[in-house]
Symmetry: C2
Subunit: 206 residues, 2 copies
């Protein structure tokens, strides 16, 4: 049932399944779910449609596998920034990291998760819901981290962890859109730096 297990009988697969998935992720990353056609996918992956369906199920399942691949990268924004001890460094790391990673030209611009949700009409509702659920999980990680900071006395009294998390999420989405629209690294880093400065002065104790 799994696609990862190599079959030892029958004609051997003529392409690298992990590499193909990475190509698929790139296309979804650039064009979103609905903005990506099967022809674009098969061309980018270097395979024909029946091979795609045999290996990944269908377009929807391929998308989920691609997103899994994206989210489980060890060098993800959250994994890096959450290593900092002080919440101020976490906030700075998240914002500056987003500005940097979203404009990294070794892959499509912006956040794959955020970009994918965008071009999603009422048609593919399951895609939308799934992506929203994943984004909610990420937001919860932020809320938890900020709640912990509040408990340890790092945050100012008036600062609500959930509001702070929402503001960070808002900035991520904005930064992702800007990057997708062609903003430069410098431009976004300046924005992130100013945002971090402002947020820190109203949320973190000095």
């Amino acid at each position: 049932m799994t696609t990862t297990k190599a079959a030892c009988v029958g004609r051997p697969r003529g392409f690298d399944i992990d590499l193909a998935l990475e190509q698929a992720l790139n296309v979804f990353w650039r064009n979103g779910y609905e903005g990506t056609s099967l022809n674009e996918l098969t061309e980018a992956m270097g395979i024909k449609k029946p091979s795609l369906y045999a290996a990944f199920g269908n377009k929807e399942q391929l998308f989920f596998k691609a997103i899994d691949l994206y989210e489980n990268r060890p060098d993800s924004l959250f994994n890096i920034a959450f290593q900092h001890e002080h919440v101020a460094d976490v906030i700075r790391g998240l914002l500056l990291g987003a500005a940097t990673q979203f404009t990294d030209c070794s892959h499509p611009q912006g956040c794959a998760l955020i970009n994918s949700t965008l071009s999603c009409s009422e048609a593919s509702e399951s895609i939308k819901q799934t992506v929203l659920a994943r984004k909610a999980k990420h937001k919860q990680r932020l809320v938890d981290r900020f709640a912990q900071a509040k408990n340890s006395g790092e945050l100012q009294e008036g600062c609500e962890p959930v509001v702070l998390a929402n503001l960070m999420t808002t900035l991520f989405q904005g930064l992702s859109m800007q990057a997708s629209e062609g903003a430069s690294v410098d431009e976004l880093q300046q924005v992130a730096a100013m945002a971090a400065e402002g947020i820190l002065t109203v949320s973190v104790k000095r």
Copy 2:
């Protein structure tokens, strides 16, 4: 050649062209350009396809007319907020206004201009470019207003008008996405208030 001029000869048009355009705007607002099909449009507008093409040209021209309608509303966010004398009130007005308008349930959630760009693959490049140009024009209005504030000594020395404008744009896009994904008025207003507070402390002289 114009569609606004009423013909005095021939069969009279059986529908209100301005009302139909408003319905079209609503659909584009909800689903974006590519996410909206002609069938959805004609159903929402209460007309058949040939009537749509006779009155508006084609899907692309209909979209541009709908966006024109959207941008030329007198109660637009910018028009209201720019009436304030002090730049601090402008910033507060823009952010709180965005949070409020984007979640106003008398129309689709989020900003029509921002939402439309989203679901736009490489296919409809002219749509993307046109919308980007309009967004750039709005950003320029922000830059001009902040530059004026800097000249009049309202802004802190280290505050660059263009960076401040970029940060505001980033927040607008984030707020629009959050609203489209179902965020509540309260939620977004809290985010906007915190963002405004942070921005003011690092950009406006006290």
